[in-house]
């Protein structure tokens, strides 16, 4: 049993944000039917079926492969009246419609919420876009770094003396996750009361809600907060320190006096730690730059794994900064089998990181790789809409199924 057994999703999403939102729904057990079309499937972007040279500098793989695992693909031509009828037929049997086109596109296609609830009363619909469905900037296009910049979170990220830092792919995941949450909440009420709803999500607002306190500071004190590197309001040491090796770093964060004394023991009680300048939490925070220098002297000759082991034994939060290689070889993640494999149609295997939560009684997960374009057209349209084989062939010939 999975949490969303029996829930059917009509998935019009594309690119990172949308694909991740329905990837999570698929992991939770929903039947996700990806509606695609040969007329539009080759869109550029980080996560389309085709990879992009500007973004990837020659890398030919696409994130599509990962974010669409566990979904089924039906290819329908929206510009064909019969194609549109089939779409409405599928919506009529779905619990959720979810999309992340530019605002106005679904309406132009005749697929606005007002139209869709006529064929499926109680429908939940979730729309995600850079700046939301209305407002003077709603027509603006954007990828993750754009809506991260607009959100304000990028402004607060960076070295104190440097420029703001563009934030990338994870921000797609953040916005997609909020789409998933909105869908789950809407579906929960639909299952309880039958009532539907439609949701307008602005990706810049989803991410901007993560800096609520900085916005309150502006209102209360007129303060425009800036960038502080890795500094924390109440911890020191608190930074990424260089470790032995090329581009090896270790993150160390010390909060309490108890942790400080653990650190002291782990470092072999060096004399510099008895400096009255490090005598309490406040003083350590005040003298954090000097503290960083001292810490660096200790960390730079040591292996990050060894630093983690020794400091954690003494109750200090120390962990390596991981590249993808560090992650896939990590002892903890592997002992819990967090990386999973799928067999693709060509027989090769695909390694991916599993669900980001462990539901102990109804575990999430997927078992199928990402679909070929239209791979499930016949299966879905004959089983769900009752098309006969000859009707199906006819619609393929008419390019309604396309």
């Amino acid at each position: 049993m999975k949490p969303l057994d029996g829930i059917v999703v009509c998935d019009f999403t594309w690119a990172g944000v949308g694909a991740y939102s329905t990837f999570l729904l698929a992991m939770l057990g929903a039947s996700v039917i990806k509606i695609e079309s040969r007329t539009t499937a080759q869109v550029a972007g980080g996560s389309g079926r085709k990879s992009n040279p500007v973004r990837r500098r020659g890398v030919t793989v696409s994130l599509f492969e990962e974010l669409n695992a566990g979904k089924k693909s039906v290819s329908l031509n929206l510009k064909n009246p019969r194609g549109k009828e089939l779409i409405l037929g599928l919506v009529g049997q779905s619990n959720l419609v979810i999309e992340n086109f530019r605002p106005g596109v679904m309406k132009r296609l005749g697929l606005s919420y007002d139209e869709l609830i006529k064929v499926r009363p109680g429908l939940v619909m979730v729309s995600m876009s850079t700046s939301g469905a209305f407002g003077p900037e709603s027509h603006g296009a954007g990828y993750a770094p754009v809506f991260a910049a607009l959100s304000g979170a990028s402004w607060l990220t960076g070295y104190q003396e440097g420029p703001p830092v563009e934030l990338r792919f994870p921000v797609d995941m953040v916005s997609g996750t909020m789409g998933t949450l909105s869908a789950l909440v809407g579906l929960h009420r639909q299952r309880t009361t039958g009532q539907g709803t439609c949701v307008d999500l602005a990706n810049r607002e989803t991410f901007g809600a993560f800096i609520g306190d900085a916005l309150i500071d502006f209102g209360w004190n007129g303060r425009e907060q800036g960038r502080v590197g890795n500094e924390n309001w109440r911890m020191a040491p608190h930074n990424c320190y260089p470790a032995n090796g090329d581009n090896e770093w270790v993150a160390i964060a010390v909060e309490t006096d108890e942790e400080w004394s653990g650190l002291r023991q782990a470092l072999g009680e060096p004399a510099w730690m008895d400096d009255p300048g490090f005598g309490d939490r406040y003083l350590r925070w005040k003298n954090r730059d000097l503290l960083d220098d001292r810490m660096t002297e200790w960390t730079r000759t040591r292996d990050p794994q060894e630093i983690m082991r020794v400091l954690q034994q003494h109750g200090v939060a120390a962990t390596p900064s991981y590249s993808a290689m560090g992650l896939v070889t990590d002892h903890h993640l592997n002992s819990l089998a967090k990386f999973r494999g799928l067999t693709k149609r060509d027989g090769s295997s695909w390694i991916y990181f599993g669900p980001p939560w462990t539901l102990t009684e109804t575990p999430a997960g997927i078992s199928k790789p990402s679909p070929e374009l239209g791979e499930h057209s016949r299966e879905i349209l004959t089983s769900r809409l009752g098309l006969s084989d000859s009707e199906f062939q006819q619609l393929v010939a008419e390019q309604a199924i396309y």
Partner: protein, 403 residues
């Protein structure tokens, strides 16, 4: 106005501090769950975080606390005492969701078993939030926002683009504020909703491990995928855009991301169709990427005399994927934000008038007015009375610092 009537009588109890757990339950509260926040008698540490109005600190006036705990009720309880623990268990008897961020050591110290909680209330969803999870070699390791962001794999790649170009050898970064902890909270809310959906068919709750490491690693799927399946190791260099990215202008910075020919054409139109752009090497999407540094040189020269808002407004109208690096003031004063009711104005009994962002969603249901975040121990009397404690007992509990 930021709350929606999505739940009818969902009771949530929270034993969690700072950002992650409280954000997960804030999200549930914005869908009208009845959230009771349980704090130690000296309060959630976020009460000391600030910001404070006019920089005057007070236990009920911290901006971070006020923001994260809107729409909740609050009570104090010392869970290290036998009585405090008893009261918590009474509180959970008819609860639907329990969000707890205590570590394994803390749970052992107060002898609280999460499995037992589900046994005694079979409908209860217990969401455990820890740095590294309830199982595995790191389950007893400590980790803060900085650790998780770095160990989760995105930190190693920060910064890319302009900041990396200027400071190629500096330490990796975490995003500003508490971004990673917020994300872990959002991811946790999704996991909790998954368990609530399971309950729709089985009537049974369950323990859900919502650890932060899993949330963070999930954000790193892109470069994990490249390495695990293609043997390509993403670095700060390879992650930087071939051109565009963070571009300095007269009064700040803009972010430009042009991935398609059409978008590049729009960008060139924004620049006034200059001669340099007509060269063959910039016409093809592949050679353009190879000569990205030259494109950026031209972009920077063009942008240096223009304001961020001017570039953004003109670029947006032409279809360029573009945004300003908004400062807090840009966001609070944004016309777009005003049209969408992004900033919520509310009156807090202790903190006064406060303006904070609503969450990214607008449901087509009627929005309800937010309830202010609780003062420390504000609802002790009401909640304890509800559990059957007398006035005298409630006073005693406070005198003994159990509440």
């Amino acid at each position: 106005m930021a709350r929606y009537p999505m739940f009818d009588g969902l009771k949530v109890v929270e034993v969690a501090s700072m950002v992650t757990g409280p954000y997960a339950t804030k999200l549930l509260a914005e869908f009208s769950a009845d959230v009771i926040k349980v704090e130690p008698p000296d309060g959630d540490p976020s009460r000391r975080h600030g910001p404070f109005r006019d920089d005057k600190p007070s236990i009920n006036g911290s901006g971070l606390f006020v923001y994260l705990n809107t729409n909740k009720k609050g009570m104090t309880l010392d869970l290290e005492t036998a009585t405090g623990k008893t009261i918590l268990i009474e509180l959970l008897a008819d609860a639907d969701v329990f969000v707890i961020d205590l570590s394994l050591e803390q749970l052992e110290r107060i002898e609280l078993s999460l499995h037992d909680l589900v046994e005694s209330n079979p409908g209860l969803v217990v969401g455990s939030i820890t740095p590294f999870g309830l199982e595995g070699p790191y389950s007893r390791y400590k980790g803060h926002d900085l650790n998780l962001y770095q160990t989760g794999g995105d930190g190693w790649l920060l910064p890319s683009g302009l900041a990396h170009e200027l400071f190629p050898d500096r330490e990796p970064l975490k995003p500003g504020g508490h971004v990673g902890d917020y994300y872990a909270g959002l991811n946790a809310a999704v996991g909790i909703m998954g368990a609530l959906h399971s309950r729709q068919t089985s009537d049974r709750g369950q323990l859900v491990d919502l650890n932060k490491l899993d949330a963070h690693v999930s954000l790193s799927r892109e470069h994990i995928m490249w390495f695990a399946n293609q043997g390509l190791l993403e670095t700060r260099e390879t992650r930087s855009f071939a051109f565009g990215g963070c571009i300095p202008c007269r009064d700040g910075f803009v972010e430009i991301v042009c991935l398609s020919d059409g978008q590049f054409d729009s960008l060139i139109e924004l620049l006034g169709s200059p001669e340099w752009a007509k060269q063959e090497k910039f016409r093809d999407i592949n050679t353009r990427a190879e000569h990205g540094a030259e494109v950026n040189q031209h972009l920077k020269e063009w942008a240096q005399d223009r304001s961020r808002h001017e570039i953004y407004d003109e670029g947006r109208a032409l279809g360029v994927p573009i945004g300003i690096f908004s400062r807090p003031g840009d966001i609070v004063n944004s016309e777009h934000g005003k049209a969408r009711g992004y900033m919520v104005n509310a009156e807090h009994p202790s903190a006064g008038e406060v303006t904070y962002p609503r969450q990214g969603f607008i449901f087509d249901d009627k929005a309800l007015v937010d309830d202010p975040a609780p003062d420390l121990g504000q609802d002790n009397f009401e909640i304890l009375s509800g559990l059957g404690y007398t006035r005298e007992e409630i006073v005693k509990l406070w005198q003994f610092k159990i509440t």
